[in-house]
Symmetry: C2
Subunit: 393 residues, 2 copies
């Protein structure tokens, strides 16, 4: 399933030895056509990893024949050598795929091979392991290889993440990795989506941006923005069907939404998934700003961890934004109990039951009709601290 | 010492019963003149506690005769009743001070009594305890009462914080409370500074704003902005000396800087004080934005806790800002080891010794001549999570 649920794709996932523990660390996704249309969305962090800089260039052409993804190293902040390594990876993949004669599209050029990396920032990749790994991955390409590819891109993920939506004769499927450094723009995530719908690059781009804006961009596990975020959508056209835009966009959004929820559910050290819904905002931008401010408030995240409905911390987070609101008209519910009404004490906070993993915070700005906007976050735990205080050691 | 180091001030600190554990919780600072000049800086959070709304009005007159401060409750998000309670506190203090005949300034009016509160948001203060407490504090006013006042405003503070600078015949002294929810604009802090210099309210205001901008506004323990932050500077004129502006402003800045460092040193659950210095920025605003972004990066804060010089997280934090810089020219030092040069791998990270409480991060933006700007932050620890997951329970 995963990236091979749609027709016209093959994938592989192998252990190339990039990770010292011998776990799978190299994935390859190949579009076997007949079409090679593609779109991509990348981190808005201004410090971009070499593979992001490379893949942004590839996507400008609107065609992606293959994607090479590695875990075990981010290849970020690695200077000219890092960029050369990404380039060499793309060249190697193109040469190896051509040698294997594995496509229907008239030969791969490095200029249509996207590259994505994830792992520690600031160390060069072991190219003596990675390049032979590309050959090994090409040799193992399979129309059922999606699951193995999804496993090979895991870093601190405890589970691999895949999702598929099938419609009348066409399919959108995908895989994701991400468990920390999750914040809008995007999260520390690598995502590859594939479809056999027969659509051009411009349509894919529009559907992908619509979807990520409402899904991955609204996942804010820990407020930290990565250097490597990459979301790709590849279309093979193998179904020979061109669905209507609305139907296709909804399928892409559904797959992204499912994967985004899986990222939050597997966030490093988290014990709670926090669903923040902002309603009655003056604008969607206001609602997003308020939702993110709540999502990033460390004191609130600690309180949620402690199952403490400390709504004052929600108000203090709202108060740091530029959104339109009157402090004396704010209402806040936690798990549907309106603990704050008109900016002051509301229903009895002891009525709030916070035993379950999902916690719902509703912020009513009483300032307009925009929303609801939903932002997903996680609590802050000692396990998060532990996991992230020892990551690179 | 503390607020009674300068001539013309009396203070008291008592246990009024606002805190259930019987610890001191009510402080009173009285300016006995001959002058009543004052300036104040308040939280920029748009959700402001009742005492902040009240004291902002008081300060518009440029005169403060007395300050009532309580711990054990923030009186924030408490609606009209909360504001009435603050008003009643000021009225009570004025009446009690007048009845005691304790001033040289012709009688106290409630309109010159500032009020400050700290503690849990969203609960009304126990006025049946607080108002008799004001009488008790007036009865205990003393020219050596500064220490007791500083103790009475503690919440989760493990130590009380005071600082004094004495010059040729005049003095600036002060007290502060704050241990969490520390972020610019300001920190969750209550600060009262006093001086016996003979200066008018406009001069005090200028000196106070210059000082807070460079000190309290650059303390960012946990990125969370409070509803109650208040910094007051009261002048009695009792020295009959009017120092030059530059000399006076430097004394105020030195006291604020000392108190700000004490806040960081006592931050909830922290094991490291992180000194972030941004140099070679295009502007001071850029330097502050970059410093704050680094200060608030949870993953970096965890890494520092783990004594892990994970400089990639510094770069990813810089990359989220709008400051002018070229990613390929950024340099970062941790404890003076330049682990990142020209946006890539620099000196050996194993050379970084992070055993001590103070950790220094230097971010060289190579974009101009502004700075250095120093932002102070803390690490993120399991103890911080523990302390803040159970605060209101």
């Amino acid at each position: 399933m995963s990236v091979t649920a749609a027709k016209g794709f093959q994938a592989a996932g192998i252990a190339a030895g990039i990770k010292q523990n011998g776990n799978p660390d190299l994935a390859l996704v190949v579009n076997t056509g007949p079409r090679l249309a593609a779109a991509g969305v990348f981190t808005s962090n201004r410090v971009k990893a070499a593979p992001v800089l490379w893949s942004e260039q590839v996507l400008k052409g609107g065609e992606v024949s293959a994607v090479v993804l590695n875990s075990g190293g981010a290849n970020a902040c690695t200077g000219p050598q890092g960029f050369q390594d990404t380039h060499a990876t793309a060249e190697k993949a193109a040469a190896s795929l051509n040698a294997a004669g594995r496509d229907e599209t008239g030969g791969h050029g490095a200029g249509t091979v996207a590259v994505a990396s994830t792992g520690l920032i600031g160390t060069l990749l072991p190219m003596d392991k990675l390049l032979p790994g590309v050959d090994a991955a090409v040799a193992q390409l399979d129309v059922h290889g999606g699951e193995k590819a999804a496993i090979a891109i895991k870093t601190t993920d405890t589970v691999h993440k895949t999702s598929v939506v099938s419609k009348d004769g066409w399919t959108v499927g995908g895989m994701a990795k991400g468990a920390g450094m999750l914040a809008p723009g995007l999260a520390t995530m690598l995502v590859v989506l594939t479809t056999d719908a027969d659509l051009n690059a411009a349509t894919l781009d529009r559907a992908l941006r619509d979807a990520t804006r409402q899904t991955f961009d609204r996942v804010d596990s820990d407020g930290c923005m990565s250097t490597n975020d990459t979301v790709l959508l590849l279309a093979s056209g193998a179904s020979r069907l061109a669905p209507e835009y609305g139907e296709f966009a909804e399928a892409v959004r559904a797959v992204c939404d499912d994967l985004a929820r899986q990222l939050i559910g597997d966030a490093e050290g988290a014990s709670k998934d926090i669903r923040i819904e902002v309603v009655n905002a003056a604008s969607e931008d206001d609602a997003v700003e308020v939702g993110r401010s709540i999502a990033r408030n460390n004191l609130l995240k600690c309180a949620i961890h402690g199952e403490d409905p400390n709504w004052g911390r929600v108000l203090s987070a709202i108060g740091t934004t530029k959104a339109a609101f009157d402090p004396d008209r704010l209402n806040v519910a936690i798990n549907d109990v309106w603990v704050c009404k008109d900016g002051s004490v509301g229903e009895d906070r002891d009525l709030v039951d916070m035993r379950y993993r999902e916690v719902r915070i509703t912020a009513d700005l009483a300032a307009g009709t925009a929303g609801p906007v939903v932002i997903w976050a996680n609590d802050l735990t000692a396990e998060y601290v532990h996991e992230n205080s020892a990551y690179s050691s």
